[in-house]
């Protein structure tokens, strides 16, 4: 352990030179953690806010009549799939709202309210009124409300494509944060849509949310295999959002490149500074060799130096990186005080970054260690 002891002493007496290396490593690791966690958080926030409050898997009919029979058996089978978080059965159809002389196209979506809430979090989006209960009661979106200029208790008149006319009573208004939904979806009981659109006991889709959004394609495949039914098809968000996914992948890759460049520059910087240390300490190393220290033990002094610098720098870097991230989070809120990015602190990533910092710094010690192998005590003594 003499090599470690000498390395510690060299570091302690190294002064500003070592302090600069530690700060250099700390900055690199802090940027690695800041950029890495921020990009991951941005991606998750983006996916959560776009895909999170909507079904990630949709089971539809693949037959010509576009409806699913015996859906209660399918729902029961789905309970076996561990990855599924929630399911909601829907009977959905297109219709028109008759508003004076205008005919506005709408989509009437029939759901059990609690099932719909488990996927779309509608309770939190219901900004006025109450959930629908009776056959006639419906919820309409914020944009449609503004278009129709209606209030709770008002009636809206609807015409089906088959020409059937009926009316609904507004029990509340929602805002799901997506204009296309807010202006077209009318939410009603499952029974209501089944009756109005003559679905009988049939439904049009089963919507599913999963525990791991990014594994939705695997879960969809699992469902397909489990159900083994040619009359249905299983869609997942990933196959329908390939552009979003490739954008996210591009973002992830660019973040990775930044991180690799940072680490590479740290390795080069540490390596060159430690190489100078070898020159500065060549007399000491030479005399240690004359006294009988073996080459491996002498060169391990510089490996230990790299390791210790990495240990201190990476630990400081983690603290600094998290500080930067929380500082960024606190200073970037929207006007209503909500954070623009939801922070996801991934401990695995932090530990990996810390480990990379320590490992890179230790590896940086190899070059000077090799240089020290070539030091010949006779040359040192002869030079005086």
């Amino acid at each position: 352990m003499l090599s470690l002891k000498i390395a510690i002493r060299f570091l302690k007496t190294g002064g500003a030179q070592n302090l600069l290396i530690i700060v250099g490593i700390a900055i690199a690791i802090s940027i690695q953690i800041f950029v890495g966690l921020l990009i991951n958080s941005l991606q998750k926030t983006l996916v959560d806010r776009t895909i999170g409050n909507s079904p990630q898997i949709t089971i539809l009919s693949s037959t010509d009549i576009n409806t699913i029979r015996d859906w209660d058996i399918i729902v029961r089978d789905l309970e076996e799939v561990d990855q599924i978080r929630a399911t909601a059965v829907s009977a959905t159809a297109n219709a028109f709202i008759q508003d004076g002389s205008r005919n506005l196209p709408i989509i009437v979506r029939g759901f059990n309210f609690d099932d719909f809430d488990s996927i779309y979090n509608i309770r939190d989006s219901l900004y006025e009124g109450k959930p629908y209960k009776s056959v006639r009661e419906v919820l309409i979106g914020k944009n449609l409300r503004e278009e129709l200029e209606v209030d709770i208790g008002d009636r809206i008149f609807v015409k089906t494509p088959e020409g059937k006319e009926t009316y609904f009573i507004i029990s509340g208004f929602y805002d799901l944060g997506v204009a296309s939904i807010n202006e077209s979806w009318i939410l009603a009981n499952l029974d209501t849509t089944q009756r109005i659109f003559y679905f009988g006991n049939r439904i049009t889709s089963i919507e599913v949310t999963v525990k791991d959004i990014f594994a939705a394609d695997n879960t969809a495949y699992e469902i397909e295999k489990l159900l083994d039914n040619n009359d249905i098809k299983v869609n997942n968000w990933k196959e329908q959002n390939e552009e979003l996914l490739s954008g996210l992948e591009g973002q992830r890759m660019s973040s990775l490149v930044i991180q690799i460049v940072i680490i590479a520059s740290v390795v080069i910087a540490i390596s060159s500074v430690l190489a100078i240390t070898v020159l500065q300490k060549s007399k000491e190393i030479g005399i240690l060799k004359a006294m009988g220290i073996k080459d491996l033990a002498a060169s391990s002094i510089f490996i230990y130096e790299g390791f210790l610098l990495g240990l201190l720098g990476a630990t400081l870097g983690v603290i600094l990186g998290l500080g930067l991230l929380y500082g960024f989070d606190a200073s970037t809120t929207s006007a209503d005080g909500v954070a623009i990015v939801d922070l996801y602190i991934e401990y695995d990533f932090i530990i990996t970054s810390w480990f990379i910092g320590v490992a890179a710094s230790t590896i940086a010690g190899i070059l000077p260690a090799r240089k020290s192998l070539r030091l010949n005590p006779v040359d040192i003594i002869r030079e005086g």
């Binding site: 240690l288 006294m291 220290i293 006779v378």
Partner: protein
């Protein structure tokens, strides 16, 4: 007395643009427990001879036997072990590690071989400090010590592993007369007390006169070998 060091037909040539032949057919033995001085002018080859005896350098030709073992076939690690256990070095410049105290410096050769210090080795270090008259400075950083104190610390370091041979290259080259006398006195005492074989390269006639044998090197050859 038995030979502790034997040199047979040792030649040393430094290869370069022009080869430099530094030592010519050196044949010499050193008795164990003896005190020897190697003298000669600058560039005569005495330091090269000392480095070869100390296994820091290799002869171009010839054979070195230390304590009955031929060292020509030994690899770097074996030679390092031999130096650590058998040979102590004192140079003109002390080469102490400035980051360590005098005591820590003295213990380094012991710690090269052992993981941690023992009570016995600390006592041995204390004994050497006492004998060399530097006990007061044993816990001082070497940078806070005078040249004489630093050189005496280097001597204590060379002796901590009880080496059978102590090689000293101009050990008093940088010191005043008083300190030189003290160090010469210490060498004599160590030689008698521990039975250490001394080989001292020196320019200083007085230092040489205090040894048992004076070997004079001239132009890479043994010019004189006087046993007193």
């Amino acid at each position: 007395m038995s030979n502790i060091i034997e040199l047979k037909n040792v030649n040393k040539i430094y290869k370069g643009a022009v080869d430099t032949h530094v030592l010519f057919d050196i044949n010499i033995n050193f008795d164990s427990n003896s005190c020897n001085a190697v003298v000669g002018e600058s560039g005569s080859g005495k330091s090269t001879l000392l480095n070869i005896i100390g296994t820091l350098d290799k002869p171009t030709e010839g054979e070195i036997i230390i304590d009955g073992i031929k060292i020509g076939d030994m690899d770097k690690n074996k030679l390092a072990e031999l130096r650590n256990e058998t040979i102590g070095f004192v140079f003109q410049f002390h080469y102490l590690l400035p980051e360590f105290t005098a005591l820590e410096n003295v213990l380094i050769p012991y710690l090269i071989k052992n993981r941690r210090t023992s009570r016995e080795i600390i006592e041995k270090a204390d004994e050497l400090f006492e004998m060399l008259g530097i006990t007061r400075w044993k816990n001082s950083l070497v940078t806070k010590m005078s040249g004489g104190q630093q050189q005496r610390t280097a001597i204590a370091r060379a002796l901590i592993n009880n080496p059978r041979i102590l090689i000293a290259d101009e050990p008093t080259g940088n010191l005043d007369t008083e300190t030189t006398n003290k160090i010469c006195g210490s060498f004599r005492e160590i030689n008698q007390r521990f039975g250490t074989t001394f080989i001292v390269v020196t320019h200083n006639r007085e230092v040489a006169e205090r040894t048992d044998r004076i070997i004079e090197i001239k132009d890479g050859r043994i010019e004189k070998d006087v046993l007193k």
